[in-house]
Each structure stands twice: as C-alpha cells, then as structure tokens.
C-alpha cells in the first residue's frame, strides 16, 4: 500500500516540483530584490545575535559566527517547513475541494519550498566558510545524510500539523508558541555544555539538538558525528515520518468536507 502510494507520488513528480517552485517564487514575489532580502534576513539576524551573545553574554566558542549561522539556517529550515507545511492543506481550499491528487503532495512540495529557501540562505554560509578559511575535511561526508534525515523529520512533523490544522484551526498559535520556546531550548545560540548538567539529557531528547550539533561538528569542526547521535536522528526522523503519514492518512478522507 505504501509502495503503491510512492509510485503514485512518483507519477506526480512534475506537479510536486511545479508547486514547490511556484510557491518559492510567490514567497519572493518573483523579484530579484525578493531573493536579495532572503539573503539579508539571516545576515541581519546573525549580526544581532552575534553582537548580543558574543559581546554582552560573552559566549566563548570557536568560529562563533559560523556556529550561530549554521544553527540558524538549520533551525530556520525546520521552523519554515513546518510553518508553510502546516498551511499547505488549509491554505488551498480551492484545490482540495475541486480536484484530486494525493493530498500529501501539498505538504511535500511546501517542505521542498522551505528547502529551496534554506539552500538559498546557505549561500551566505558557504561564503563565510571561505572568508574564515575553514578547512573542509572528509567529515563533510556526513552532511548529506544529516540533511536528508532533517528533511524527513520536518516532513513528518509537517504532515501531522497540516492534517491537525484542518480540524483544529488554533494549532498554528499553539505551534508558534511551542517553536518560540523550542528555539531557546535547542543549542542554537549556545553550546550544549552551557546547559546545566541535569538538563543536557533532556535537551538531547530533541532531535533538532542532535541534528544541529552533528552538522556543526562535521562541517565546522572537522569532527565526525557520534554513532549514537546519528542513530538517534535516523530513528526519530523515521518515527516522525511514520507518525505523520499515519495521522495524515487517517484524517485525509475528511479534508474536502472539513475545509
């Protein structure tokens, strides 16, 4: 059944790509300046956070700019894909009510839109890597795997949220608040070591924490990711995808009537 579904999705690959791309263009209003702003946004955020945390809070971390920027880009991807993904069903009543194709196409394409936006942002990061002359080591091999797992994890969460959002329209407010809190609960601005000892274990339950830590280690610090982290990330990504798929498929039959 799942295999059939994947086959069906493959048949719709053009549509998925087309929807992702048009959403992407729409976000930037199809203008050059729009793309420029999308680069500026993480840079401005980086500047503010850098000034605050390295000067006022005196965070002592090697390559703190890169440390921050990578964390922000990865976190932005997660928050954006769930944010856009959440509205991928409720935001398109015209399509849902008038035409059929597998509804998860909307969620998948909104996650791809978020991915495109994040890839765009990471251009800034690559430039910074060159400026700071960070050596690229073989540990970079881990990166594609980490990114794929991050995508799967985000997709799973997005599917759950998009389906629930059809039935509970205040999900978005709950999720916004949750994400605000999670931003500070995830080692984005600081290292895990700055967490109190007893809170570290709890912080590590969060898959995003391990994803960001592993990405930093492999990209910036030439340190291989720990097996424990990779397994934890892999298992949780698949767990959330299965959960998302199950919730989505359970609620999907009612979408056209509920919207």
């Amino acid at each position: 059944m799942v295999l059939d579904h994947l086959k069906e999705l493959y048949q719709y690959r053009n549509l998925i790509w087309n929807l992702s791309l048009s959403e992407f263009k729409l976000r930037y209003k199809n203008s050059i300046l729009g793309y420029f702003w999308s680069l500026l946004e993480p840079l401005l955020m980086l500047t503010v956070l850098y000034l605050v945390f390295s000067n006022l809070m005196r965070v002592q971390v090697e390559h703190y700019q890169l440390f921050l920027l990578l964390g922000i880009i990865l976190w932005n991807f997660f928050s954006r894909s769930t944010g856009i993904g959440m509205f991928s069903i409720v935001g398109k009543p015209g399509m849902i009510k008038k035409i059929y194709f597998p509804r998860d196409i909307f969620v998948i394409s909104s996650c791809i839109t978020a991915l495109l936006m994040s890839l765009f942002e990471s251009v800034v990061f690559v430039i910074f890597m060159f400026i700071f002359r960070i050596p690229i080591s073989s540990t970079i091999m881990y990166v594609p795997l980490i990114l794929v797992l991050l995508f799967i994890f985000s997709l799973g969460v997005s599917m759950t949220l998009s389906a629930l959002n059809v039935y509970f329209r205040d999900m978005q407010f709950i999720w916004d608040v949750f994400m605000q809190a999670a931003f500070f609960g995830t080692p984005i601005l600081y290292t895990l070591e700055m967490f109190p000892e007893n809170l570290r274990t709890i912080a590590l339950l969060n898959p995003m924490a391990r994803i960001i830590i592993s990405a930093r280690n492999t990209i910036i610090y030439s340190t291989p990711a720990t097996t424990e982290d990779m397994i934890y990330i892999g298992v949780s990504a698949i767990f959330f995808l299965v959960l998302g798929y199950a919730v989505f498929m359970k609620l999907e039959p009612g979408f056209a009537e509920e919207i």
Binding site: I99, Y100, F101
Partner: protein
C-alpha cells in the same frame, strides 16, 4: 471490464449543531454533548460506465449530482460502498484550479497544465497553441490579476482541452461563459466523444444531455430514480414527477374549486369540473418538453340541457401577457347540445414554446359571450427546453448561405 463501477454507494454528511474547530473549543466542549444532523446526500447508488460511453447525470438542485461526481473524482470518500475507476480521470469540475493571480499567463498555463496531468515536454510545445486558442498571445507575460474573468476562463479552457483524457468528468462547465464559449465547449466535447473518451456529464441543461449522453442517470434527493437510455430517462424526468405532487391547478388548490373564487365567474349552467393536461405518452402532467404534443381535457357538467355552447382556452405567459386564444366556434366545431357530464379535448400537436411557465384560462360560454363558467388563469404548466434556441417560442426557420 467497466471503466467506472459504482456499487452500493452511500454518502452521509454529518452537520454538527455546533462547529468545533479549535483545540480550545474541543477541550471546553468535551463534557457537553453536541448533537449533529445527518444528511444522506447519496443513497444506494449502483451503476457502471463502459469505455467510450457518455453518461449523463441529472436531477434537481440538491439531488446529489455533484456529490456523486466528487466521489468518482476521489475528492470526497464514500461513507459506504465503493467506487472503482479503471483509468485516468481528468476532472473538468472547475476551470482554472490553482491559478495564481501574481503569475503571468504563461506561468499559470504551465502550472495548470501540470495539474491537469500534461507532460512537461508537451506543455512547452503547446504553449503557443494554447495562447493562440485563447486569443491571448499578446498577454503572454501579463500577470493574471490584470486579466478579465472572461480571459481567465478562456485561458483555463484552452489549457484544459490539451489533455488526452481517458475519463472526463464535467460538472456544469457549459453553464459559464457566453454562447460562443459554450459552442467551443460543445465542439470539444463532441471531438472527445468521437475519440472514444468516457464522459460523465452533470448538467441541468437537458438539451445538451440529450445530445451527448448515451445513457442518463436520474437522481432525486440522493436516490437513484432511473438509469437508462437518455431519451427515456429525460421523458420520465420531465413527465414523471407529478404523481401525487402537483395537479397543475393554480394556487395549490385541489380538484374542486371553491365558490367565490375571484378567478372564476359565470352562471354555472354548465360547470367546468376539471382540466387535465396529458403528455405524449398519455400521462397526466404539468411538465412538458418543447415540441412535444399536449392534450388538454376539459371535463364539464351540464345541470340542464344547453344548446350550442362554446368551449375555449387562452394561454398566458407567467407575466400575464396573452399568447394565444382559441375556441370551438373559431375552429368551426359545432356542439349541438350538452347534457350531464362529459369532456372535450383540445389536441396540441407540437408545443412551440421553448421554456417557461404558462397559465391557462378555460371557459365555456354561449355564442354571444354570455358566460357559463370561466376559469381565469387557474391552470399552469411548465415547458422545458430541448434545443438551444433562445426566447419564448420557436419559429421554424433555416439559414441560407
């Protein structure tokens, strides 16, 4: 193998008395029970559609036509039973699904074509064709928000017909657009039919159903009334609804008319006791297809022997304009005398009216217009169109070129 198979299909909509669609409402409402209404939109529908066949679906508003089409298109799920489709569906349910106002015509064509399932290579090749057909080449790079609604529909339609459908679902598409656009739709539909595309066509326009569909399914309040040959079903639809529902007598009155009715006068030496209309099958009806035959039977009761009476009718439009009047004297029919009960029939071979509601006056009087009984506009009937000519009535004509 049937290309579409619908079996024991039921669809029930649950309409809650109090809509809860937030977490907050769900939590606070957890301990208060809230009832809901159920609405049986479709009840026990069974049919199959063979490859290359055109099936029409007709019925009044709320009879479940669109629900049925949406179920076949997989947009909504059946509550019970199943729909099996062995082929690729191209839904024409609505034109221009997914149009983005902020994108140009060309960009929108690409997206819409992808939605309609056209391959990427083909789209590029067909883009000029599409814009040409829609008469919009000049506006290729104009944003859609600057288009008129007519231009948008043309663009959508031009794109949609580029598909090579196996199964086409159409829901009242012909209802939008002007005559020219409708003609284009019909041409395309005809072309698809000739290519052997399976079509499921939902419409109120009995004329186009008659022309396109081999078989027709009639729904009434979610139930399948009849499925069969289009001509037969339409006749039963238009003619068959009146049993016990409506006698055609004005003001919802029953067979006997009340005394003191302001629409009735005369000395009642001869009393008109009833007026009935019969369709071409000889069934009593108040609904007729244009161009069909119609018989009007006037029953009377003469309380004494009356010599040389004249029976007449007058036909009015719904607005009360007189359209036609005739009587037995004008037609040279001499009734020597009447006595007791009896009836007289007026045969109309061909109803020339195209569509609308019509009022009928029936009277009996003496040759010098002293009235025995006059029923002024007390009867009514409806005429349904069977062709696409417009207006009140049909003028026989041909074009020379």
């Amino acid at each position: 193998m049937s290309i579409i198979e619908v079996s024991d299909l039921h669809k029930v909509f649950r309409i809650p008395h109090e809509k809860r669609n937030t977490v907050f409402e769900t939590l606070t409402g957890l301990f208060r029970s809230s009832g809901y209404e159920t609405f049986h939109a479709l009840r026990d529908i069974n049919f199959t559609v063979e490859e290359g066949e055109a099936l029409g679906v007709i019925g009044e508003n709320g009879s479940g036509k669109s629900t049925l089409l949406k179920t076949i298109a997989r947009i909504i799920r059946p509550t019970d039973g199943y729909v099996r489709v062995n082929g690729k569906i191209t839904p024409f349910l609505e034109l221009g699904v997914g149009f983005q106002q902020d994108f140009t015509a060309a960009e929108n064509v690409r997206t819409y074509a992808t939605i309609m399932g056209i391959q990427k290579r083909e789209i590029q090749a067909k883009l000029d064709n599409i814009l040409n057909f829609a008469d919009l080449e000049k506006f290729r790079d104009t944003k859609l928000k600057n288009f008129s609604s007519g231009m948008q529909v043309r663009l959508a339609f031009a794109t949609a017909i580029q598909t090579n459908p196996e199964i086409l679902l159409m829901d009242e598409v012909l209802a939008v657009g002007d005559m020219e656009f409708q003609q284009k739709c019909i041409d395309v539909l005809n072309q698809y039919r000739n290519e052997g595309v399976t079509i499921v066509f939902v419409s109120h326009d009995l004329g186009s159903v008659r022309r396109f569909c081999d078989r027709t399914l009639l729904l009434h309040k979610g139930e399948q009334v009849v499925l069969g040959d289009t001509q037969h079903v339409i006749d039963s639809y238009v003619y068959g609804r009146n049993e016990g529902e409506d006698t055609g007598q004005g003001n919802g009155g029953s067979g006997s008319l009340q005394e003191g009715n302001t629409n009735r006068w005369g000395n009642r030496k001869i009393e008109i006791t009833g007026v009935e209309m019969y369709d071409k099958f000889g069934n009593k009806s108040v609904r007729f297809n244009s161009f069909d035959s119609m018989d009007i039977r006037i029953s009377y009761k003469a309380h004494e022997k009356v010599l040389d009476p004249v029976f007449g009718i007058q036909l009015y439009s719904e607005k009360g304009e007189q359209l036609f009047g005739t009587n037995t004297e004008i037609k040279g029919v001499i009734i020597d005398h009447v006595e007791g009960e009896g009836h007289i029939d007026l045969k109309i071979e061909r109803i020339p009216m195209l569509t609308g509601r019509f009022l009928l006056t029936v009277a009996v009087h003496t040759r010098d217009n002293r009235i025995y009984d006059w029923h002024d506009k007390l009867y009514r009937f409806d005429v349904y169109p069977t062709c696409r000519d417009s207006g009140l009535f049909h003028i026989p004509c041909t074009w020379g070129f």
